[in-house]
C-alpha cells in the first residue's frame, strides 16, 4: 500500500518525538545511535531500532524537511578518537507536523540520560 504524501510512519513519529524530547532536555543535536537509544528507552522492550530502519527513516525525515543534519567536524571526532557523527536537528516544520498528530494515550516517559546524545 502506498503511503499518502506527507503522512508520517509510526517510526518517523517516534523518532521526531524522541528528538523533540532531547531538544527540551538541552540536546538540540543528536546522532543516530542517541535517537535509537531514546526511542528504545521509551518502549517496553527497550529494543534498539534496526540500523536499516533507523537511517532510512532519518534520511526520509531529512528529505521531508523535518530534520536537518550536518557531518561533525573531523577535528572534534579525531580529538575524541572516534568516528565522525552525523548530527541531526529538529526543524520547526517537525514541531508543526507533530502538533497535528494526537499524542498516544499512555505514552511511556522517555528516560533519557542527559549528556548521552552528543557527548
Amino acid at each position: 500500500m502506498r503511503r499518502k504524501p506527507g503522512a508520517l510512519l509510526p517510526i518517523e513519529v517516534a523518532l521526531l518525538r524522541a528528538g523533540v524530547a532531547l531538544f527540551h532536555q538541552g540536546e538540540p543535536e543528536f546522532h543516530g545511535y542517541a535517537i535509537a537509544r531514546a526511542v528504545a528507552d521509551g518502549t517496553e522492550s527497550r529494543r534498539l531500532t534496526a540500523h536499516g530502519t533507523l537511517y532510512r527513516a532519518l534520511d526520509r525525515l531529512e528529505t521531508a524537511g523535518l530534520l536537518e543534519s550536518t557531518l561533525e567536524d573531523s577535528a572534534i571526532a579525531a580529538a575524541e578518537m572516534r568516528p565522525r557523527r552525523r548530527l541531526y536537528r529538529i526543524t520547526a516544520a517537525a514541531e508543526t507536523a507533530l502538533a497535528a498528530i494526537p499524542e498516544p494515550r499512555a505514552a511511556p516517559p522517555h528516560s533519557l540520560r542527559k549528556g548521552e546524545a552528543t557527548a
Binding site: 543516530g32 545511535y33 534498539l48 534496526a50 540500523h51 536499516g52 572516534r82 568516528p83
Partner: protein, 325 residues
C-alpha cells in the same frame, strides 16, 4: 569499560561493515560515504554505551547482529528508492574474468587428467583392477570436481562474452562458444569416467566377466578423444582471448608471442598426430600446454590485480578474426 576493544568488536561489527559495503556497492560515493559514516558512528556509540554500562560483550554482539538483520529489508528498500527502478551494480568484470582464467588452469588439469589409461586389449584388465580399487567417495569427489570444472568453463564463457561483446562481438562469440563447448565436453568426460568406474566396480564384484571388461574398455577409449576435444576447444578459446587481450589492450603485458608460440606448437601437434610421430606428439602437446598455461596465469593475474582496464587505443576489434591469427 567493556573487555572488547573498539574495532575488534568481533564478527558482528565486521559483518555489519561488510553488509554496508555490499548493499551500497556501485552507488555514487556521496551516498556510500554517508551511509558508511552513519553505521560506523552507530557501531562506535553502541560499543561505548554498552562498555560504560559494563554490559557483557556477548550482549553487544547480539544487539548488533539483531539490529543488522532486522534492518536488512529497509537497507535494500533504501537502495532501491535511491536509484529508482534501475539499480546499477558495477560488477568488476575484469577482475572476475581474471579469476576465471586462473580457475581455468585448474579446470584444464582436472578435465585432462581423466585420460591416461592403458586401453590396450592385453593390459586393460590391470587398469580396470586399479579403477575398481579406487574408493567410491574418491570417485565421487573427482567426478564432482570435473563437473565443477565444466560449469566453471561455461560460467567463464558467459563472463568473457559479457566483457567483450561490445568491443569485439565476433571474438566474444568465438571465445564464449569454444569455452562453453570445453565445459560441456568436460562434463561429458566426467560422466563417462563415472560410468567406467561403476563398470569397474561391477566387474570386480561379479567375477570379472568379459562383457563388463569390454564395455568398460569402450568407455575408457572414449576418454582420450574427449580429452583431445577439450584441449582443442579450450586452447582455441584461449588463443581467441589472447588476440582480444592484445588488440584491445585488456592487460598491460598480453604476451602475444607466448600465445602464438603455443598455437604454433598445437598445430605442430596435429601434424605429429597425422604422421603418427608419437615421441614428438607428446613433446609438442606438453610444450603447447605449458606455454598456454603460463599465458593463462599471466593474463589471469594481470586482470585480477589490474582491475579496470584502460580504454583501448585500437578501438573495436574487427569482426572477422580467426582464433589463432
Amino acid at each position: 569499560m567493556s573487555a572488547i576493544p573498539y574495532r575488534q568488536q568481533g564478527f558482528a561489527a565486521s559483518a555489519v561493515r561488510a553488509w554496508v559495503r555490499f548493499y551500497t556497492l556501485g552507488l555514487p560515493e556521496e551516498h556510500r560515504e554517508r551511509r558508511s559514516f552513519q553505521i560506523e558512528s552507530d557501531l562506535w556509540e553502541h560499543w561505548r554505551d554498552r562498555a560504560e554500562s559494563q554490559s557483557p560483550p556477548l550482549l553487544l554482539s547480539w544487539e548488533t547482529t539483531d539490529r543488522a538483520l532486522r534492518g536488512m529489508a529497509a537497507d535494500i528498500l533504501w537502495r532501491f528508492q535511491l536509484e529508482g527502478p534501475k539499480v546499477r551494480i558495477h560488477v568488476p568484470i575484469e577482475r572476475l574474468a581474471g579469476a576465471f582464467v586462473l580457475l581455468l588452469i585448474l579446470a584444464t588439469f582436472l578435465s585432462l587428467s581423466a585420460n591416461g589409461y592403458d586401453t590396450g586389449r592385453e593390459g586393460f584388465a590391470d587398469e580396470l583392477e586399479r579403477l575398481a580399487s579406487i574408493k567410491g567417495w574418491q570417485t565421487d569427489v573427482y567426478t564432482l570436481l570435473q563437473v565443477g570444472a565444466g560449469l566453471g568453463m561455461i560460467l567463464s564463457a558467459a563472463v568473457f562474452f559479457l566483457q567483450l561483446r561490445e568491443r569485439a562481438p565476433a571474438t566474444a562469440v568465438v571465445a564464449a562458444f569454444l569455452m562453453a563447448s570445453a565445459g560441456i565436453l568436460t562434463m561429458v568426460s566426467a560422466s563417462v569416467y563415472l560410468s567406467a568406474a561403476d563398470l569397474a566396480d561391477q566387474w570386480a564384484a561379479d567375477g570379472r566377466t568379459e562383457s563388463s571388461l569390454t564395455a568398460a574398455r569402450a568407455l575408457t577409449l572414449m576418454l582420450f578423444p574427449l580429452s583431445m576435444a577439450i584441449f582443442v576447444t579450450l586452447a582455441g578459446a584461449m588463443y581467441t582471448l589472447a588476440v582480444a587481450a592484445t588488440r584491445l589492450e585488456l592487460v598491460k603485458h598480453p604476451l602475444p608471442w607466448l600465445a602464438a608460440g603455443s598455437a604454433t606448437l598445437s598445430l605442430a601437434t596435429l601434424g605429429a598426430l597425422v604422421t603418427q610421430f608419437e615421441t614428438a606428439e607428446w613433446l609438442l602437446v606438453s610444450a603447447a600446454m605449458v606455454s598456454m598455461l603460463v599465458w593463462m596465469a599471466s593474463t589471469g593475474l594481470q586482470l585480477l590485480i589490474g582491475g579496470r582496464v584502460k580504454p583501448s587505443k585500437a578501438g573495436a576489434l574487427p569482426d572477422a578474426i580467426s582464433p589463432a591469427s
